[in-house]
């Protein structure tokens, strides 16, 4: 099956479409620009919610080389909701262990797996072309998604309640009109430039060489990071295992390296031999030199144009916060756009996309800048302190906490989001309004399942019941929410969580009690969870009026 498909070599046909016939521009609800991981996730999430989408891409191929490579737990959970998580995990290399070397010694080994009882690992390594390939196959099979290759956006004109887009194709240009345009067109975003907008931040004066090397090696599935190794003095090196016996190696080159010379095989091969030994047999699959920047647009929404992924924000690669944060942008945006298109939520709900994801971008930029400053010290003092940390880390646990070769990529908590309803009681743990709902093993209908599989797509009210059915007060509160005479602004699915199965009732069984512990839940505790699996509100007792108000707030109805 996919072992037989060379995803890097796939070419997608340009097809002329009816929209190219002369006449007024064809009208669409949503146009997504860019068929990378962020654009395809946006399109799939919208389509899963019943929204028709046109995807435009100026190329006709998937990613070349491994590029994004590390897909984090939260990204896999989002793809689980879209039915693609398992496929990614099956193909990818799951890993939790990282090793740090300084000069010729291993100084520290860490395990990223924080605790058991989560469906997905901290990370998988998977070449970006596989991730895109799997997303693409699903998108192509979806009748609500129209994928248009060799379709380059050359004009973007805001009009009343929409955007007119000029698309250049092998058959010449044509125009489209859309209610909304989502620009997922990468760090050099043509859409951003066409609108005269800019992304600002910090450019790092360093260059890295990336090589995908195919070889039968017996390194374990771990992330190995070297500071100043004997085989590449004064610089850093990163080694990662990928599927198909492909290994990803990143060599820091310094700012003065010549990017054209550096990628020539006669210059790449000696570097790899120095790492692997003179006897190693390998094939070079892909080589590239990159520089990096941490920057973002001031605002991710400009009228009817929304920016997601690298077009909106860029980070340095350390810590896997590029593609992962872009996929989180996509899921934050999709449900909001769907509600706005359906007239169920005000257009201003999309300002919360900016507020939440701009905050996430700042957090990602902060984390990846710090890792970059540690890995590539910018001053002599910074280098001396970095080396002192590494030397101390051999013997002293406190210094290991300072070693920063890229932190675990975790999703942002939207603590200050206007969509949250503040707590009116005390809770232990991390499930505050704005947090991503934590996973836990559950049972439903006599089968093992995962908590996150019960959430998403629409709003859920999770009602923790302990080991008895809801009491009279809870039952009457829930009945009031279901009262058709005063309908809720959007549908709300009620999920009962019980400690053991209740005869004849469709409940989620928290057999190990982990869910109640992670949510600090007592009998009566309720959580309102958004379509993107973030917590919107919680209470110690169900109260129909409070739930109704919180639901309105979570779709932007409160000002």
């Amino acid at each position: 099956m996919e072992a037989d498909i060379d995803y890097q070599a796939l070419e997608f046909a340009y097809r002329k479409c009816a929209d190219q016939e002369p006449g007024a521009p064809a009208a669409h609800r949503v146009i997504v620009v860019g068929a990378g991981p962020v654009g395809l996730t946006t399109a799939l999430d919208l389509a899963a919610q019943g929204v028709q989408v046109v995807v435009l891409d100026d190329d006709y191929r998937l990613s070349t080389g491994s590029r994004a490579i590390c897909f984090a737990k939260r990204t896999l959970e989002i793809w689980d909701r879209l039915g693609l998580g398992q496929r990614m995990v099956d193909k990818g290399v799951s890993w939790n262990v990282g090793k740090v070397f300084f000069r010729d010694q291993e100084i520290w080994k860490f395990d990223l797996l924080p605790e058991a009882g989560h469906r997905r690992p901290a990370f998988i390594n998977l070449q970006q072309y596989y991730a895109e390939g799997f997303l693409h196959e699903r998108a192509e099979a979806d009748p609500r998604i129209a994928l248009r290759w060799k379709s380059k956006v050359t004009g973007v004109t805001p009009v009343d309640d929409g955007v007119v887009v000029t698309v250049e194709t092998p058959d010449g240009p044509y125009q489209l009109r859309a209610d909304w345009l989502v620009a997922c067109d990468g760090s050099r975003s043509p859409v951003r430039k066409l609108l005269g907008l800019e992304s600002h931040g910090r450019i790092f004066r360093d260059r890295f060489l990336i090589a995908d090397v195919k070889m039968a090696a017996d390194f374990p599935a771990e992330r190995w990071f070297w500071f100043d190794p004997p085989f590449h003095p004064n610089q850093s090196v990163l080694l990662h295992m990928q599927p198909d016996n492909v290994w990803r190696i990143d060599f820091q080159l310094g700012w003065n390296a010549d990017p054209v010379e550096a990628v020539k095989p006669e210059n790449v091969l000696p570097r790899i031999r120095a790492l692997l030994g003179p006897q190693a047999e390998f094939e070079l699959e892909w080589v590239s030199v990159y520089t990096f920047a941490c920057e973002r647009m001031e605002c991710f929404r400009h009228g009817r144009v929304l920016f997601a992924g690298d077009s909106a924000h860029r980070v340095s690669p350390f810590g896997a916060r590029g593609a992962n944060s872009g996929v989180q942008d996509a899921e934050n945006l999709a449900w909001k756009l769907r509600l706005v298109l359906a007239g169920q939520a005000p257009e201003t709900l999309l300002d919360s996309y900016c507020r939440e994801r701009e905050h996430a971008a700042d957090e990602n930029i902060l984390n990846s800048s710090r890792a970059t400053d540690f890995i590539t010290p910018k001053s002599e003092a910074s280098r001396v302190l970095r080396n002192a940390v590494l030397n101390l880390a051999r013997r002293h646990p406190f210094a290991r906490a300072l070693v920063n070769s890229g932190r675990l990529s975790v999703p942002a908590t939207y603590r200050d989001s206007p969509l949250n309803t503040p707590d009116d009681a005390d809770y232990a743990g991390t499930m505050c309004p704005g947090a991503v709902a934590a996973d836990a093993p559950v049972r439903r209908g006599g089968r093992d399942d995962w908590w996150l599989g019960q959430l998403g797509g629409e709003f859920v009210l999770a009602v923790f019941c302990g080991d008895a059915p809801p009491d009279a007060q809870a039952t009457s509160a829930l009945a009031a929410l279901a009262d058709t005479r005063t309908p809720l602004p959007v549908p709300l699915r009620i999920v009962h969580v019980t400690a053991r199965p209740l005869d004849g009732a469709d409940v989620v069984v928290d057999a190990e009690g982990l869910l109640a512990r992670r949510y600090d839940a007592q009998p009566g505790t309720c959580y309102l969870i958004r379509p993107d699996q973030h917590v919107a509100a919680r209470w110690r007792r169900p109260d129909a009026a409070a739930v109704r108000a919180a639901l309105g707030r979570a779709i932007g109805l409160a000002s």
Partner: protein
Amino acid sequence: MSLITTPNLPAPDDFYEMLIEAHQGLSAEQSQELNAALALLLANHIGDMAVLREALTQARESVQ
């Protein structure tokens, strides 16, 4: 707790001698390494961000 800037060392001369001796025989570069390691060890021992911030401010202000 705030940064103590009044005398707090029981034997100031002994400490100062220890500090100088720790650098005996080191090159300027190695001395820099030692100072960095020392700052990190002491910072962890103090473990109070407000105190550390104040110490960094005072140290920076002392630079001519």
